[in-house]
């Protein structure tokens, strides 16, 4: 069953083969979990989101017309569940008001950086933690676009299908997101090298 494609496994699942769905789960659970983890920021919530997402996927598998898009579809479910969590918890209230031109977010980031001490912060946490922190302050649209493109190997077209916007919009979000990351890192005293 390992050699079967997503499309074939989805077809088997739609016929009631639970083992086929378990194969799909085993194939994509790591990617789904890491995506959820990078979105919600903690392991417990990420695990819950993944569990819910896989359950939703299983219960609605009959609605999936193109089995080859199982990966995109499940990532889409994870993204929606994370959005719901942010909405219900209001956890990202402060960052949701960020404007994409970067003016307001830079102001907020500068205020924070002054409070915490740029140098101390940079020394205290590693670059990985700093990136996690900075990414966590991006609006979820930018964050999810960067995550899916950068860490999960989706093309802009695939991300467009997942989030339901044109591919050009996805690329625009990635552009603004990366620019915001650069600005926030600079505010925290991290010199981002130029790369050609």
């Amino acid at each position: 069953m390992d050699s079967l494609s997503d499309e074939q496994l989805v077809a088997l699942t739609q016929e009631g083969n639970l083992h086929a769905f378990n194969r799909l789960t085993a194939r994509w659970e790591a990617s789904l979990f890491r995506f959820a983890l990078r979105l919600v920021g903690n392991r417990e919530d990420a695990r819950d989101v993944c569990q819910d997402a896989l359950m939703k996927a299983y219960l609605n598998i009959q609605k999936l017309r193109e089995g080859s898009k199982f990966k995109s579809w499940t990532h889409h479910i994870v993204l929606n569940l994370c959005r719901d969590r942010f909405r219900s918890a209001g956890a990202r209230a402060e960052t949701q008001s960020f404007e994409e031109d970067g003016i307001q977010e830079t102001r907020v980031a500068m205020t924070r950086a002054r409070k915490e001490g740029i140098e101390q912060k940079a020394e205290k946490v590693g670059l990985s933690r700093l990136l996690e922190d900075v990414m966590g302050k991006l609006p979820i649209e930018q964050r999810s676009a960067i995550l899916l493109r950068e860490y999960h190997g989706f093309t802009s077209e695939e991300i467009a299908e997942i989030v339901g916007v044109p591919a050009a919009t996805v690329r625009t979000r990635i552009f603004y997101g990366l620019r915001s990351v650069r600005r926030m890192l600079t505010e925290r005293g991290i010199e981002v090298p130029m790369h050609s």
């Binding site: 625009t172 552009f175 990351v181 130029m194 790369h195």
Partner: protein, 283 residues
């Protein structure tokens, strides 16, 4: 969220960054980057930031999700591992949850007590003994040595030993009494266990008889109470019935009697009507 208008070249930069641009468009854009310093600056900044993003590690091992068939999930539910309990809670649960355990322990203690079981601390070791305690050495008898009598405990420092009594002289007893071997001890344990089982069985029989007796008495009392309740209820119903219709019944009977008397030519007595009586009572 509103998407602000963006220089279309910036979006193309992202496409170029991830290798999503067709060859011809890529060539044209690279020419623009070469010729436009602002565009080149954006391009280099984007590339540098993307490179830095690689430093965001995510080493957490993902959990594994497995969907179970209904019957599998049911059997999995039955295999729920109970959380470890602290020993105090476990002991409390044993004591409270199992009366048999308490009864067995009490019986063991009782049997040991009947057999005069005792633990004697002797020269740093412990000795388990059954039978009556040895008589203290008479002060008149000469004490030959201050050293302990019998087999030196160094040879068998913590092995359980036993003397069965029977000898009058405690000194000789101590000197000659063999230590209880493990086999003997196990045989004795078996005997104790048999006794305990017999007692428990007897206890169970007695308990069953007591329960049967209690149930019989309870049933008898319940039946008696039921009969009494039935009589009470019947009496009340009768009283209510009489209270509702008895008066009319009695008056009707009297009228019938008087009418019969009248037919036979006897002069009717002047009787008060019920209304008059009632009014008279009210007054």
């Amino acid at each position: 969220m509103t998407e602000n208008p963006l220089d279309p070249r910036m979006e193309k930069l992202v496409a170029l960054l991830y290798g999503e641009l067709p060859a011809e468009e890529e060539r044209l854009l690279r020419l623009q980057i070469e010729s436009d310093p602002a565009l080149r600056a954006e391009w280099e900044a984007l590339g540098g930031t993307r490179r830095m993003m690689q430093a965001w590690e995510n080493e957490d091992a993902p959990p594994q999700f497995v969907f179970l068939q209904e019957e599998e999930s049911r059997s999995a539910e039955t295999r729920v591992v109970r959380p470890a309990m602290p020993w105090r809670a476990r002991l409390r649960g044993m004591l409270l949850g199992s009366g048999w355990a308490v009864a067995a322990a009490a019986l063991v203690v009782a049997v040991l007590a009947v057999n005069d079981f005792r633990i004697v601390r002797q020269d740093g070791g412990l000795t388990f003994r059954f039978g009556a305690a040895s008589e203290p050495v008479a002060s008149s008898e000469p004490v030959l040595s201050s050293e302990p009598q019998g087999v030196p405990l160094e040879a068998v420092p913590m092995e359980p030993s036993i003397d069965r009594g029977g000898s009058g002289d405690p000194r000789i007893l101590q000197a000659s009494a063999p230590y209880l071997t493990r086999e003997e001890f196990e045989v004795y344990n078996e005997g104790v266990a048999r006794t305990i089982i017999g007692l428990l069985n007897e206890y169970g029989r007695q308990q069953e008889q007591e329960i049967a007796g209690v149930l019989t008495v309870a049933f008898g009392e319940m039946a008696a109470k039921h009969g009494q309740d039935y009589d009470d209820l019947r009496g009340r119903i009768e009283a209510i019935r009489l209270g509702l219709g008895g008066e009319q019944y009695r008056q009707g009977e009297q009228v019938d009697y008087l009418m019969n008397q009248n037919r036979s030519g006897i002069e009717l007595p002047v009787s008060d009507s019920p209304e008059t009586e009632t009014k008279g009572e009210e007054k």
